[in-house]
């Protein structure tokens, strides 16, 4: 039986100050409804395009905040119920699955994928150990604290992440 290839939707890194220092999405926005577009009041093309782009940017920003809030609360809940040494690993809804990995320095790695994907803990650990530590922490130009993601999204890290993800998931070109 042919099964659809596994998909990855997005990836986030949060630092210990609750700030999102890196985010990456692999999903393409759904094609907007043509009938809805024709009903739109006629704007000069440029304005409309920048509006949509800025709306998407704020939505991504808000999503990152919501995801942080969710994992923060779930992590607390899991600790409360399972004891101090319990770790929150993942949750699944009908549409997606969220994988979570936290380093001892409270760096939080979050991966959103298809629901059929198994445990991604080792993958997130790999991203931390072989990509983040190698290309971001060891980079002589990287600052100690990555305010607003400064120094994280460098060329080597981006490239390494992209090829690593492509080796596991099917990502549309």
């Amino acid at each position: 039986m042919a099964t659809a290839p596994l998909q990855v939707y997005s990836f986030y890194i949060f630092d210990r100050h609750t700030e999102c220092i890196y985010s990456k999405r692999w999903t393409t926005p759904p094609p907007s409804n043509p009938s809805a577009q024709s009903q739109r009041p006629s704007l000069p093309n440029g304005t409309a395009a920048t509006n949509i782009a800025s709306k998407r940017a704020t939505k991504d920003d808000n999503d990152a905040k919501l995801i942080f809030g969710t994992i923060f609360s779930l992590r607390r809940m899991v600790r409360q119920l399972g004891g101090q040494d319990d770790l929150f690993l993942s949750y699944r809804t009908g549409e997606y699955k969220l994988h979570y990995f936290e380093t001892p320095t409270q760096l939080k790695f979050v991966l959103l994928t298809d629901t059929r994907v198994g445990s991604m803990r080792t993958v997130l650990h790999q991203i931390w150990a072989t990509l983040y530590v190698e290309y971001v922490v060891k980079s002589p130009l990287a600052p100690l604290e990555h305010r607003k993601g400064e120094g994280v999204a460098n060329e080597l890290f981006e490239g390494g992440l992209e090829s690593f993800m492509r080796s596991i998931f099917s990502i549309p070109q």
């Binding site: 939707y9 997005s10 999405r25 999903t27 393409t28 759904p30 999503d63 919501l66 995801i67 809030g69 969710t70 609360s73 779930l74 809940m77 899991v78 409360q80 119920l81 399972g82 004891g83 040494d85 319990d86 770790l87 929150f88 690993l89 993942s90 949750y91 699944r92 809804t93 009908g94 549409e95 997606y96 969220l98 959103l112 298809d114």
Partner: protein, 146 residues
Amino acid sequence: MVVFALLIINKAGGLIYNRTFAPGLQKLDSNDYLILAGTFHGIHAISRSINPAPPAQPPPGNRKPPTTGIESLESSHFRLTCYQTPTGVKFLLFTSPEQPNTELVIRRCYEIYGDFVMKNPFYSMEMPIRVEKFDRALGGYLVRPS
């Protein structure tokens, strides 16, 4: 393989039933359980809005299926399975991580709830469940003789 606890949350986020079947989770007082129920109710709603998956095209003539919130959560010590009924009541089942068929177990709990709580004329809706027969039926189903 054990079932640790069952929580029932009404559609407003209030805890209406809370029972532990086996030791394994930390002991919390009733106030903490109420907070936990409220928190989970909120996170469940948020988890629906951060859905990154592209919307699936419904078959022609059908309505788009509603997005579900958290259905199962895994930690290193336990697994939480959540089932939301069409009326918005949430059933939360805490089991050991290797427990199979949690979906079936939770459906059966919902059936027992339907039989002994909903059919009880003295139960007032959205209020804490104090129905002796429900307790007994759940105990008979979830407490395994060791």
